[in-house]
Amino acid sequence: MGAEDDTGPPSKRVKGSSFVLENFLRSSSLPGSIVPLGGPMARPLPSQGKEDFIGSKGVIKRVEFIRIITKTLYSLGYEKSGKALEEESGVHLHSSAVILFRKQVLDRNWDESITTLQKIRLDGHVRNSASFLILEYKFFDLLEKGRVMDALRTLRSEIAPLNINKKRLHQLSSCIISSSQRGLIGWANLDIDNGKLQLKLLDELQKVIPPTVMIPEKRLETLVEQALSVQREACFFHNSLENALSLYTDHLCGKDQLPSKTLQILQVHEDEIWFLQFSYDGKCLASSSNDGSVIIWEVHEDGEVSFKCTLKGHQKPVVMIAWSPDGRYLLSCGMEEVVRCWDVDQAECLRVFEKHGLGLLSCVWYPDGKKFFSGVTDRSISLWDLDGNEVENWKGHQTTKNSEMAVAKDGKQIIIMCKETTILMLDWETKTAEPRLIEEDHTITSFSLSRDENFLLVNLSNQEIHLWSIASTPTLVKKYQGHTRSRFVIRSCFGGFEQSFVASGSEDSQVYIWHKQTGELVQPLAGHSGAVNCVSWNPGNPYMLASGSDDHTIRIWGLNRVNLKRKDSLSNGYVNHCNGTAN
């Protein structure tokens, strides 16, 4: 178009006769240097007959779309393509005034650029802000060259009359006197010969000048990133270690990104399995049974789980096990019996912890891995060190006999049940309870703490699992339902990528997985032939879930590989297709 008007071609299109087209072409002044595509006879057609809006929803303005694509082509370095697009579409990226302006800024022709600025249609205050920016750069340019008097003149006769940003003006004047001031207001490293300075100025001008006049840098990339972000947010079943999303298809993890198929059945325990847990690095799994045995399993690189050793010693069913933070030790607690500390590598019992006349109910590590808490049958809590000493015993805030416990805030806080329906957070040092409690309407059977310590998953006797946010005042956030629980302690856990999922056992022999944020139930996993008492999601592998059942087996659940293979080949096909045909 070549017109000074920067709002693009007129929105009114004349549809129809070539006569009108001829006139139109004659009146527009095309610069002679642009060679029309397709040979001398073909003329670049204006958008005659084309819609103003493109896309199925009719919300994308054609002109805007073309301009940002043109901008992207130029910024990627494809000058010829950029020019060709401008020509073929008839939509110019920038008016000639803007092109000239940008060139002058890059060449540091300060005064000329200010003059050109007058030619661009802008609001008065915008023009002043832009002028201020350019003159500021001119000012520092002069100072750097040692032309102090010229700089001062610029300050007085050019910058000051603009009458804006007085504070900045004062800062600039102080720069004349002291060069250290320059550093303070952001002018420390002046790369005079480097083009970076001018690019920085263009960046700042970009913020001031409206985007319709000068298209912002990387606008298309920004839009695409926003779209990917929305897709990522909407991907409920997102359970992937991959960070990059493809542009070819909308990103949506299907439920096939979650463990759904039994990969292995571990049948070594000779009785019901009551507790299991992966180590923190996900390389080991420990399981305990009501026959008093504890088994350690190894998780190999390829995902296979194999038997490592059996730890025997408990005379009662083992109700809880706990991995030390460094994975070297394992604590196990017999029901109202003793706690044993095992060396994982040597597979031997290092020490037995007991209280005369009483039984221990649970074992939870202190974060330093050198001490642990345990509940006692007299409703007190003991803190032990690995040498066998009971460091502390505390009787206040009677805990219930079903001693579930969690440790938070680096050992400063323990989370315990003080009543059948109430969980409280206790400061261990001061032994004062936070006034904020978790109160439920039904009896709590078990609970577990999320890795980031912000959430507590509470299992209730009425077959619901409640998610509480405990970062500040405890708030009930979500409820999960579908599983069965009427007689046993059924455990649940967080898991998956960023712990976005909740898994639980059930008395109907299935494993249940819910999406944590929405509460949506993913397909329950069938396979066990007895109540599933406990589940553990591998912290190092979002695709691996282990479940322990009354049927004496542990099942390792993983991805349904058959489905995945199909998906891969599909996407490969798609890519090939894209390469072969014009899209």
Binding site: T400, S486, F488
Partner: protein, 111 residues
């Protein structure tokens, strides 16, 4: 059979399952002592603990037709009584959601 979850009542006066001695109901939860079960006298309770429910069944009582679930002690599976799921007679609706425990199945503790 899995780690059985056993709830304890604050009491002090509670009824326990005669067979396995886990808590079943608190004295405060009694609504009426004037009921009759299979084995003689039975009490109506508002809430009970440590029980598992059987399936819905329709039964005819002296007071009319009701839908009930048999209840079992969750620890030893002994049948202790039933729960009223639904009453078809308007005058009997108050019983819905409440539990009948047979005196013969219970033992007293705390008094």
């Amino acid at each position: 059979m899995g780690l059985i979850f056993v709830e304890t009542l604050p009491g002090p006066k509670v009824f326990k399952c005669k067979l396995c001695k886990v808590d079943s109901a608190s004295l405060d939860a009694i609504i009426s002592k004037d009921f009759h079960g299979r084995y003689g006298r039975a009490y109506l309770f508002k809430t009970v603990v440590n029980i598992s429910l059987g399936p819905n069944e329709d039964r005819e009582f002296l007071t009319g037709r009701h839908t009930v679930n048999d209840i079992y002690c969750s620890s030893c599976q002994q049948i202790l009584g039933w729960r009223y799921e639904k009453a078809y007679d308007e005058g009997q609706k108050y019983k819905e959601g409440m539990f009948i425990l047979e005196k013969a199945m219970l033992m007293k503790a705390g008094w």
